[in-house]
């Protein structure tokens, strides 16, 4: 771990704005673990969706440009947002495997990039580079068996052969992290189901769908005994937060639970000042629960 | 009778085609063409071998040397070999051999490799007709006979 100093980090469009507390808490936790997430000097939006029709080269130029910029900073680039991770990792693979596309993209972005970069999610850094056992050693405020529900959503997991952060049907990477932090992860069926994603802004059908899907996720979690949900994507976070608001209004007897970014609790467990971790920005505040458990 | 026999009536050039075929598939396929009373160009002479695996590239050279204007080699389809894998061996061998023949300047239109099963009489007929016509258009092959003389 000693060689870990600076890790090139791509924030993406949302982490600098709406999800600033996600980024801040991640950066803080990294510092505690002895390295720095250093933002790329130049970057643009990844497009927030990997183009699913292979003839859509334009959709690849955005993320390819990001990757090119990142390749100047080092041999790997890490992200916090699941969507950025998905888009960059898939684009990287395409550029690497498909010579023809690579050349076309090069002419568009006026830069040569061959796909040799390693795209990682911060969770992977914690698991593979730092090691969860090392994280565990650094914990100063264990999470006192709080029943955590790890919500993965889609982008962290699928398609498996391109993304492959963990088993796409039964992932445990977030649970494993939270075990190290002293929490008690609880499995719930909908942890790998979609929250409704961009349909939050989408068309005629959208809002309704998001509500249904996210409410399902929340109810599945709460029904399984989850006391607090962690996410790794601002869009998941947003959809779950919004839906819970509606669920509270519309479903009688529904008990709302806090929804936070995994990095916020990570920072806390590693002993950082609670005030720096942006808990006040979450719609569903975790602090009362934390206080009650004397974390 | 050492002189080249004429396959058909005098007039145009009639090429000599030698076919090296395996006993189990192509030979039986050629028999089937007969049983079905199909008709094809008379220029071909078959030499029966147990398996395409038995076919030594030198046989082909010998055939050309002895005045063949075209040679074709045919056996069971890959995977159907009566002897499990003989035709895989021959196929591998031919890949190298083809390169060699090309190198020595043989027009590859004179040498054909193909797979014909015992039921593919039509394929056999088409192959013979096509090869014969193609070689006929190319004219006599004399390079090797000269070497021989």
């Amino acid at each position: 771990m000693s060689e870990l100093k600076n890790i090139p980090y791509y924030p993406g469009c949302t982490l600098n704005t709406v999800a600033k507390h996600f980024e801040d808490s991640a950066k803080e936790s990294a510092e505690t673990l002895g390295f720095t997430l250093s933002e790329l000097e130049q970057w643009n939006c990844c497009g927030a969706s990997y183009p699913l029709s292979p003839d859509n080269i334009m959709g690849l130029t955005g993320p390819a440009k990001v990757l090119f910029e990142a390749s100047k900073a080092g041999e790997s680039v890490t992200t916090l947002c699941s969507v950025c991770y998905n888009v960059l990792k898939r684009t990287n693979k395409t550029v690497h495997d498909d010579k023809e596309k690579r050349e076309t993209i090069s002419t568009f972005i006026e830069a040569d990039y061959d796909g040799s970069l390693e795209v990682t999610h911060y969770l992977e850094i914690l698991r593979d580079t730092v090691g969860f056992s090392k994280v565990k050693e650094s914990v100063t405020r264990p999470l006192k068996d709080i029943k955590i529900g790890a919500y993965y959503g889609c982008m962290l997991l699928r398609p498996f052969e391109d993304v492959g952060i963990d088993d796409h049907e039964a992932p445990t990477i977030i649970e494993d992290l939270f075990k190290a932090l002293g929490a008690k992860p609880v499995d719930f069926p909908n942890k790998i189901e979609c929250c409704g994603a961009h349909l939050a802004v989408g068309g005629k059908e959208g809002d309704d769908v998001v509500k249904q899907l996210s409410t399902c996720v929340m109810r599945s979690a709460v029904g399984s005994g989850v006391e607090l949900i962690v996410t790794s994507c601002p869009l998941c976070q947003y959809n779950l937060e919004q839906s819970q608001e509606k669920a509270v209004k519309e479903v009688s007897g529904y008990n709302a639970v806090p929804i936070v970014y995994f990095t916020q609790l990570l920072g806390l467990a590693l002993g950082q000042d609670e005030a720096k971790l942006g808990f006040e920005k979450n719609v569903w505040d975790a602090r009362p629960l934390l206080k009650e458990r004397e974390v | 009778m050492s002189e080249k026999s004429q396959a058909t009536a005098p007039g145009g050039f009639e090429p000599k085609i030698t076919a090296l075929v395996c006993n189990w598939c192509t030979y039986a396929g050629a028999d089937l063409a007969g049983t079905s009373r199909m008709e094809y160009r008379p220029n071909v002479r078959i030499v029966k071998l147990p398996c395409t695996g038995r076919i030594d590239p030198l046989f082909i050279i010998k055939a050309f040397e002895k005045g063949a204007d075209g040679v074709l080699v045919s056996g069971c389809h890959p995977g159907d070999c009566h002897y499990t894998a003989g035709n895989y061996h021959s196929r591998r061998r031919w890949v190298g051999f083809k390169g060699l023949m090309e190198f020595t300047g043989i027009d590859m239109r004179r040498l054909h490799f193909s797979w014909i099963s015992a039921s593919e009489a039509i394929k056999w007929v088409d192959l013979i007709n096509n090869v014969t016509d193609e070689v006929k258009a190319l004219g006599p092959f004399t390079d090797y006979q000269q070497i021989n003389e």
Partner: protein
């Protein structure tokens, strides 16, 4: 100077209408070595054959060419005639002037056909001049058979061979005979109890005078060839003296340690010293070495203390035995695919998601619940069961591409067994197609639906998860175009049948082929379904591919009849078309050895009189050589040649064109 006769057949008008046979005969007359020529109306007729024999004798011919129909037609006929006339049959060659000449060249002036016939006959003649006398190869046959695998297919083969009066060695890797069928409850389509029809057969094997049974044993090595195999068998240490043991069970009753039972697929436990199931044959326990503290660290030993006949021996070691056999039947059966590949169905995660064989055990009167259908998690009787078909089958992405063939049937059976045992229970079946091709099979699956009320849904299940103690099954019904969610008490996966994981290993030991799924390959899928390409080795049952009991048994019997046919003669005649090595020029490059598809060529040491090795040469094992000639083309020093198709013969034919 050779004395050769050339006979040109008219075949009535079949040849004569487009070939001037008299001219062909005439042309041959002047060829060097030819002393007799004739053309004849029907060569293969009795008078034709008679005249051929007479001529051979009269003119003292030492070779003949028959220009007639394809050798595939009458080569045997004329060679036999030669033999009767005292001429070596391999001194007879056929020029194919019918199928490959008169029938395909319709020139009525006979010009084309005659010219080609002359060429073909001349080429054949030149080849014949180089033919050598050959004699059929005669190999003695050891009339004992080896059967590998003691499932229903292997048992059937062993009994049929033994009943036919031949000795059989049956090798089974598990401690007991029975295979997968021993685990089944009742069997489609007749619903008879599997144990009831299987156990008597197992006992019959054990008691048969002509069957030597090696259980807990595996074939380690196979040498030799058809009629003459030497098999090395490893008898794994049982730690129990088989001759002394009475099967009383005191030992396993006493043994304090429990392990998940393999036979019951983990639904219950067995002891460390155990027989896999109560009806095991032989009824002699084995000690599971890995889990026995006595063997691992010298603690316990309780079994030995209670065993009356003192048959327990913790120091026993594996034994190696060799057996000579003339034929081998492979009947090593199938396994179920590991369900862990399908995390979306939660097998292994949820106790009440089970596979088909586990359901068989739950439904079996001799199973862990004495035949009552109970959930493994809490022992409750399930009120609804979802059956999922094609798990792993027909799934190129995550499983196997083929259809497992029997799971449609056994799933229908399961729904019936369930209904018969739990009258108010409801079963749901997710299927893609119902494949019930077989006598009374379609009627059987219809009965499951119409009489026993199974709800069939046409679609795959996407996911299974647990919610409030129920298993939520989320799938589709493509016929109505809807998404379907069912809350069930239990889920049964009809998992793909796959080959044994050691199948490729065994195939290599035996020199037989296998496909990309590691199922053994038949010689010909339709016409030689129980033979392999290697002479003397036969196949039976599910080691070839998925099949049910009737088919496995038919194959067992068919393989047995092939063995019987092989054993019906004392010697085995083979065509003398084999490779031969001229040892003097062999430079031991082993190109031929690697080229031979039949591993018929050995690296042989040449020793001088003092017994010192002076050189190595290739030597062909005539028993294994099939005469493909691949080695000949591979040998750069032209040391190896193929009798009947020598280089000399082939060049002679080529030169004559």
């Amino acid at each position: 100077m050779p004395r050769i006769g050339v006979f040109v057949c008219q075949c009535g008008n079949n040849i004569a209408s487009t070939v001037d046979t008299a001219k062909v005969a005439e042309e041959m007359k002047d060829m060097p070595g030819v002393v007799y020529t004739a053309d004849y109306k029907f060569m293969c007729s009795s008078p034709g054959q008679e005249s051929l024999k007479e001529t051979v004798k009269e003119h003292k011919l030492d070779g003949i060419v028959v220009a007639a129909c394809s050798p595939h037609m009458h080569e045997k006929t004329f060679r036999k005639a030669c033999e009767k006339a005292g001429l070596n049959p391999y001194k007879c060659e056929i020029a194919n002037i019918r199928e490959q000449c008169s029938w395909v060249h319709h020139d009525e002036t006979k010009k084309t056909g005659t010219i080609k016939s002359i060429d073909l006959t001349r080429m054949t003649l030149e080849r014949l001049k180089r033919n050598k006398d050959l004699t059929k190869i005669s190999i003695p046959i050891t009339k004992r058979a080896l059967v590998i695998g003691g499932g229903v297919a292997g048992i059937q083969a062993a009994l049929d061979i033994a009943d036919g009066g031949r000795d059989v060695i049956l090798v089974e890797k598990e401690p007991s005979l029975g295979g997968n069928m021993a685990k089944l409850s009742e069997t489609f389509p007749t619903m008879d109890c599997s144990q009831c029809i299987m156990t008597p057969k197992m006992v019959e094997v054990e008691l048969h005078d002509r069957i030597t049974l090696y259980t807990y044993s595996e074939v380690e090595k196979v040498d030799g060839y058809i009629g003459n195999f030497t098999v090395t068998i490893r008898k794994k240490a049982r730690f129990v003296d088989e001759d002394l043991c009475t099967g009383c069970g005191d030992c396993w009753n006493k043994c304090p340690f429990k392990i998940d039972s393999e036979f019951e697929h983990g639904l219950t436990k067995r002891k460390v010293i155990y027989t896999p199931f109560p009806q095991a044959v032989p009824n002699i326990p084995v000690i599971d070495k890995e889990n026995c503290p006595k063997i691992q660290k010298d603690k316990c030993g309780a079994c030995a203390l209670v065993c009356g006949p003192e048959c327990i021996d913790f120091t026993q070691e594996d034994k190696i035995v060799t057996e000579d056999v003339g034929a081998i039947v492979i009947a090593t059966g199938f396994d179920l695919m590991k369900n862990s590949k399908f995390a979306e169905y939660g097998y292994g995660k949820y106790k009440d998601v089970i596979n088909g064989l586990q359901f068989e055990r739950l439904a079996s009167a001799s199973g862990p619940t004495a035949g009552e259908i109970q959930r493994p998690s809490d022992g409750k009787v399930p009120q609804s069961i979802v059956f999922i078909q094609c798990v792993g089958s027909r799934n190129e992405e995550k499983g196997v591409s083929y259809c497992s063939k029997i799971c449609c049937m056994y799933t229908a059976k399961h729904t019936m067994l369930y209904k018969h045992k739990v009258h108010d229970g409801q079963s749901y079946v997710f299927y893609m197609d119902i494949r019930a091709g077989g006598k009374r099979y379609e009627e059987f699956t219809r009965k499951a639906i119409e009489e026993d009320g199974a709800m069939y849904l046409r679609g795959r299940v996407s996911r299974v998860y647990e919610k409030n103690g129920k298993l939520v099954v989320q799938g589709a019904d493509t016929l109505s175009g809807s998404q379907v969610v069912i809350e069930a008490d239990m889920v049964v996966l009809a998992t793909a049948l796959v080959s044994r994981d050691n199948a490729a290993d065994l195939a290599q030991k035996l020199g037989v082929g296998y496909d990309k799924h590691k199922f053994f390959s038949e010689y010909h899928p339709k016409l030689k379904p129980v033979e392999t390409v290697t002479g003397g080795i036969y196949l039976a049952g599910t080691c070839v591919g998925p099949m049910d009991i009737p088919e496995s048994v038919s194959m067992g019997s068919a393989a047995a009849s092939k063995v019987q046919a092989l054993f019906s003669a004392d010697m085995l005649d083979r065509e003398p078309i084999t490779a031969e090595v001229a040892e003097a020029t062999c430079n031991a490059c082993w190109d031929c050895v690697t080229a031979c598809p039949y591993t018929a060529i050995d690296r042989t040491e040449i020793k001088n009189r003092k017994g010192e090795v002076v050189s190595m040469v290739a030597r062909v094992n005539k028993g294994l050589c099939t005469g493909c000639g691949t080695c000949v083309a591979a040998c750069r020093s032209k040391t190896i040649d193929l009798a009947g198709y020598t280089d000399e013969q082939v060049y002679a034919a080529l030169n004559a064109f």
